[in-house]
Symmetry: C2
Subunit: 340 residues, 2 copies
DNA sequence: TTGTATGCGTTATCAA
DNA sequence: TTGATAACGCATACAA
């Protein structure tokens, strides 16, 4: 049913080897033969058999290097699960993962880890980069030699194969829409964000604000505080905000530190008096969704964010296939108690 | 890195053929040799290479038969997309799809289509069965000869490889939870269901009712009407309900016929006065979600409902691997205007 | 009851 | 610039 390299060779009156050389641009073939073979291949609609390809390239061992800021951040647990699953599914293709986990967002540390990973010999790279010029420069240097995929958090000015992650602005809009559905009239919302230096967090604020301004103008953003994704800081700033803003009736967390913030609300006796929307599904968030303290949490398919980068790089290594989209945005999943 | 059948043969001091016979229980091998080889294989943690397996079984052409009640029901469009995608991904494994589409829910018609499909020679079957004893009997007969997977709509008493679809009761609970979040105090809800004979529709009503009864007792179900998934009927019964029930403030559609129902509401001047929750994402539902008429619609991963059955049957055909779970429930996706 | 040869579609390595 | 041949890991038909 399917066309093989052999059939093409027969029809063209040449050997398999020549056809292989033509189809894979290996050179050393007369231009006229080349054109002839290419024509026949195109006519027959030749598509290489990925299975056979995999079988023969199995001898080669490929290593996909992974660099991820996962230490101390449970959000990445599910991403790593997705990566492990992908790794297993491509085991037969002779592809291995070298995962390097680091903590925090220091440019120096990330650069050092990058050096280290490259030094141990990798054939492809997937990472969650800090959006920094020095990182970008280093990545472009690497991208000259091997395929690079960026996930979860994007970086500008890098020649990457793809970005896999959330559309942060859009997810802010969804949060705004949901808040509009459940907020009381003339609701005052307090925003607890992660860091003003994180583009994703800012986009979630912009999307939220833009949306309620247009569709629910009676809702107002009363205050914004940053907690640096730290529970203690979050506790402190949330407490201050709740005391400072009279009549505050809703909280919008754009990042981590939810547990600390909720502790403050509880201590001040707010409990179920606040409408609360968060992101992701950490154990603490699940618990508070279950008990009804949190109304909605928005997830970003973390498993898929781990699975896809590995599969994309594997496909590129084994078949040279580039991803269809340069930006592969995850679905924005709305989670409540019953569908988490 | 990975153990091959050859290595086992060498270590056991037998030929590849014998190892093959042992590992695949083909018989004709001395018990002691059998035990010996099995021991070595287990010790080395032998796992057959699926890629090589696929390459060799490629000669065999497998056909997966699909029977689906998709004609006239746009919900199935996305399911079929998933099937096409799965078909393409297993093309190299020599597996083809034979899709038979029928219309409606007549047991006779489904039986006839089933006969026809089997007669044309299939090696596996996936279908959306009517939950009927005669169908079950026929399916059990078929299941004796080839693997059967059921999707979207389950059937009892059939020896199937798996069911892939929604947990209807659970999705009813989610709808109840959402209604509780957005409904005004002491809200009266009207339910427009598909058919009292469809288990899935009834489960969606039960889940909804049970949940609001427990968590939002001030909300009451004021009326229930069936529309048989027909727009005209839906228009009629919805109109009657809206006129009959004073102070009705919300509608819960468990199935199709949403467009007809909304037309009735519009004509009676209800427009945005009603909180409306629906299922799935037909073009009409998308439009009304966009315009704010519908608050939430709950989706059931239709693409995946098409993709998974095909992949499961393919895995079974090529590697003999059975699905991990007998019931593979889809996520319940909450969709609003901004994340549809 | 066992071993051997052949082929699946591709790539890689020779030799011509 | 080409063509022939050997792998990759497995299944299968056939020979012993």
């Amino acid at each position: 049913l399917n066309v093989t390299i052999n059939q093409i060779a027969q029809l063209a009156g040449v050997s398999r080897g020549t056809v292989d050389r033509v189809l894979n641009n290996r050179g050393n073939v007369k231009p006229e033969v080349m054109a002839h073979v290419k024509g026949i291949a195109a006519e027959l609609g030749y598509k290489p058999n990925a299975v056979a390809k995999a079988l023969v390239t199995r001898k080669k061992k490929y290593v996909i290097g992974i660099l991820v800021n996962s230490i101390g951040n449970h959000f990445f647990d599910e991403i790593l699960e997705g990566m492990e699953a992908a790794a297993e599914s491509i085991e037969d293709f002779g592809i291995l993962l070298a995962i390097k986990k680091i903590k925090g967002y220091s440019v120096e540390k990330q650069l050092a880890a990058l050096e280290e990973l490259c030094a141990q010999g990798i054939n492809a790279l997937a990472l969650t980069p800090i959006n920094d010029k020095r990182i970008a420069a280093k990545l472009n240097e690497i991208a000259g030699e091997l395929p690079v995929v960026v996930f979860n958090s994007d970086i500008e000015g890098v020649n990457k194969l793809a970005f896999i992650g959330s559309d942060y602005y859009k997810s802010g809009e969804v949060a705004g829409e949901l808040m509009g559905k459940i907020a009381p009239p003339d609701c005052k919302v307090g925003i607890i964000t992660g860091s003003a230096h994180m583009k994703g967090h800012n986009d979630r604020i912009r999307g939220f604000s833009d949306y309620i301004e247009e569709y629910f103008p009676s809702i107002t953003v009363a205050d914004i505080e940053a907690n640096n994704d730290d529970e203690q800081t979050s506790y402190r700033v949330t407490k201050r905000m709740l005391q400072k803003v009279p009549g505050i009736a809703a909280l919008y967390f754009t990042a981590g530190g939810v547990e600390g913030g909720l502790r403050a609300a509880h201590e001040l006796g707010f409990d179920k008096a606040l409408k609360i929307i968060t992101f992701d599904a950490t154990p603490a968030i699940r618990k508070n969704l279950e008990s009804g303290i949190i109304s909605f949490t928005l997830c970003q398919q973390p498993y898929r964010q781990g699975y896809l980068p590995v599969r994309m790089l594997a496909d590129y290594l084994v078949s040279g296939v580039k991803p269809e989209r340069q930006n592969d945005y995850m679905d924005i999943e709305i989670k409540v108690k019953n569908n988490i």
